[in-house]
Subunit: 494 residues, 2 copies
């Protein structure tokens, strides 16, 4: 039975599919700058345009087509060269086709039985990536997001030290501490809570102005934790912080970890792709000495969102830690080698196929194509930093770009002569970025993030991922900041 509602349709299913396909293929292949970046509307106003209500009766395909149009037109064009808002952007079209294929085949990655091809492909791409890390033999799996990858690290580290924690719980093992950069991703806070460590178990290591941890403070924090009755157990090295793109010194940290018998996890969700570049892989020097790594490929590589891999050099630990051996799924008397069933390495049951879209893109590009992609993106960030350095109205947080992140302020003319330490200066400066952002969004010209940090008031955080951007579009970005910044300046009233 085809249980679709039995209404009269002027358009049939195939025509509907074709029409949406044509819209989408136009969307992904046309020059991205041709289409407005966004058409920002306040939630209430947008609601009026969308027919959100679900009813007893179904709708015909023509209505659905018109809905798809409205959705496309009112969504953010994340492939636009001036979408500089998040750690993802333009989707790689081959990777997109990979997701279309896996969606159409509608299966779960838990057993070889129902995902034979995708199991072998997942193994293949993870093995290829693990060699870039420098792990000779390892266990690895795709996760629904880097945050969950980071949580896998916390769980494995705990289980490695106290294998019985799986059974007895956190109540019955000693208090263990997690050491991490104060600029580490917020997923570790979420993880520390979710996994039952508690936020108090996190010892945040102070960073220099560049966002890299201060090794002396790391050692102080270990002492502090011990004084507090915690056992030093887990260390996070960040390879590419979210805000400033800083890389912690993995090799040095690894020595401390050895000394205290601590697990070293590298959060390379953001910075992992530097491993593909001869020029930049030194940023992750020592990563092969770690116990685990989280690495996302939907960020600067442009694989379809979301594409996150977790690796550990401790073969079999994923399965030992996460397994529940459900008899309805992981029968031991199957007609093939059941070590190919990956489901018990995951905390999930059903698991979306995330490996194929990356593998297919990698097939297309080869190592060299992806290396070129990484180098190109990093060159754009460098270009921006240099250009901003030449301009008097811009002040850069970190003079040398550390990755694809460039953090800076636009200083309005009227502030130039003011005391930078005065409250009034800070107050006015903090309003520049939200003002400029609002202008950008309402005009649909550009999107870029901003935020405060420590004593620093709101600054812009430029980030760039796989992109159709060029030096010209970086210039356009600067021009836009200047334009809206001047508008802000003219509106300042003392």
């Amino acid at each position: 039975m085809n249980s679709s509602s039995q209404m009269k349709d002027n358009t049939n299913e195939k025509e509907f599919i074709n029409c949406v396909y044509n819209k989408l293929v136009k969307y992904i292949t046309e020059p991205k700058s041709k289409r407005r970046l966004s058409k920002f509307q306040q939630p209430d106003s947008l609601k009026e345009q969308l027919n959100l209500q679900l009813d007893k009766e179904g709708q015909d395909y023509d209505t659905l087509l018109s809905i798809c149009d409205t959705v496309i037109q009112n969504s953010v064009n994340t492939g636009h060269p001036l979408f500089l808002n998040q750690l993802f952007g333009k989707i790689d079209n081959v990777s997109l086709i990979g997701t279309w294929l896996t969606s159409a085949l509608n299966t779960s990655q838990y057993t070889f039985e129902v995902a034979p091809v995708f199991t072998l492909i997942e193994n293949s791409i993870l093995k290829h990536m693990s060699l870039k890390i420098g792990y000779n033999d390892c266990d690895a799996i795709f996760c629904p997001g880097g945050s969950i990858s980071n949580m896998y690290a916390l769980n494995l580290a705990r289980s490695y030290k106290y294998p019985n924690v799986k059974t007895v719980g956190m109540n019955n093992i000693p208090k263990i501490a997690i050491f991490l950069s104060e600029q580490a991703h917020y997923s570790f806070s979420k993880g520390a809570s979710f996994l039952g460590f508690g936020l108090n178990a996190m010892y945040k290591i102070r960073c220099g102005e560049n966002g890299i941890i201060i090794m002396d403070d790391f050692k102080l924090k270990i002492k502090k934790a011990q004084e507090d009755g915690y056992e030093p157990a887990i260390v996070i090295a960040v390879a590419g912080t979210t805000v400033t793109g800083a890389f912690d010194p993995i090799r040095e940290m690894s020595q401390v970890c050895k000394q205290y018998n601590m697990w070293l996890h590298v959060d390379a969700c953001h910075g992992g792709c530097a491993l593909l570049s001869t020029k930049y892989k030194h940023l992750l020097d020592g990563i092969e000495l770690s116990d685990s790594v989280a690495w996302n490929c939907h960020k600067i590589l442009g694989a379809a969102f979301q594409c996150c891999a977790f690796f550990t050099c401790h073969k079999t630990l994923l399965k030992r830690t996460h397994s529940a051996s459900a008899t309805y799924l992981f029968q031991t008397d199957k007609c093939y080698d059941v070590s190919y069933d990956t489901g018990d390495s995951s905390i999930q049951c059903g698991r979306v196929v995330d490996g194929f879209k990356l593998w297919l893109m990698w097939k297309r590009e080869g190592d060299l194509g992806l290396e070129k992609r990484v180098d190109y993106i990093l060159s754009l960030a460098e270009y921006l930093t240099n250009e901003l350095g030449k301009k008097s109205h811009f002040k850069i947080l970190i003079p040398k770009p550390q990755y694809v992140n460039v953090c800076f302020w636009y200083i309005p003319e009227k502030l130039c002569e003011m005391d930078q330490n005065s409250e009034q200066y800070k107050d006015i400066l903090s309003k520049v970025a939200p003002y400029v952002k609002r202008k950008m969004m309402t005009n649909g010209t550009c999107m870029v993030g901003y935020q405060p940090l420590y004593t620093h008031v709101n600054f812009f955080r430029f980030v760039i991922s796989h992109t159709l951007a060029s030096l010209e579009s970086i210039d356009m970005f600067i021009n836009l900041i200047e334009k809206y910044g001047e508008e802000f300046n003219s509106e300042i009233n003392f």
Copy 2:
């Protein structure tokens, strides 16, 4: 820069996209039974057919096309009427188009800023579903899988009782117990470990032969937990167990929960869709009295895999429990009402758009179309049960079908006169299902699950989801079991 490798291509990108699209559209619109269900090969043999290796140089589009062909041909045709192996099956084509659209638009669901339309649509579909549950006001979110939804329930329940657990961890709150059916899904074991409760905190309630919990045993287990020094805190009612499709008595359980001030979570991942049917919603009687619900729509409804929603009647608790308030993402001085940013309700950072594909399908079908779908699928399970009951070589585990699950044995002729309690009988019977399954897989004719349970040796577990199946295909299924079962019989040697 379009950073694809600069090789000579006979096919260009648009042609490549079109060719894959044509293959996929054929795949999803042709009669599903026309295409073989599977072409099972052992891993090593399959590896030889896939060119798994990734190289320095990239490949041309023609190679990619041939890869896509091989992938499609060697994957399991989960839309086939005789794919009866998992709790998902034929994808709804409108829902598939929904995923194609969201993939192409490549965004994350964490802020209204980058997902304005999808935020409103997620709110809309979750609200619509929550009214089916009977929650008047609630908080809800899509999760990457029902397992993670169930873990959300454990975390919220813990945090509701001990709000400071987020900060102080499991070490510093009393030991709390989780009560659940011994037939509850294995994700609770995974969750109890992952969240730091430990497996020992789980008190498994015995079930009757039908897979429904025995209320008296529930009460005994509460006493037992208290004796062990645990505080009774969390109760799971299963609405549709994985193996037998049993529904626990939610209303009755809710009374016990009130008495002990325990959180009641309904795991309706499998059975939630019965809420859409006037005829079957009584199965979840009392669900509106629960504290939280997990409900998957990629199962019998046929939404694209994976589509899992979590609901709690405790408004704001998701955000209170999961928030980390990252300043780079959740600025408080944005130009819109930031309560529309859903990211801090999740344990994820980036989150795939899972609501749209369901909402679009629901638009198409309406409540009535989906109700018809549920009723139809359940009627097929009922038909199978009735047919098997007429045949002497079949023995059914639970005479009355409880949902879409039908568990049964095929009894080979040579066993019919044997003592059913003898070890030889059990040993031979346990081999029937693996034998039949192997035959089905190597012939690519059908896929159905099997497993042991308690003292029961391997039986078949038939399950059915949104499907193109008909009474005729159910007959074909029975015929196949008989055919391979007879082959098994002829090979038995005493």
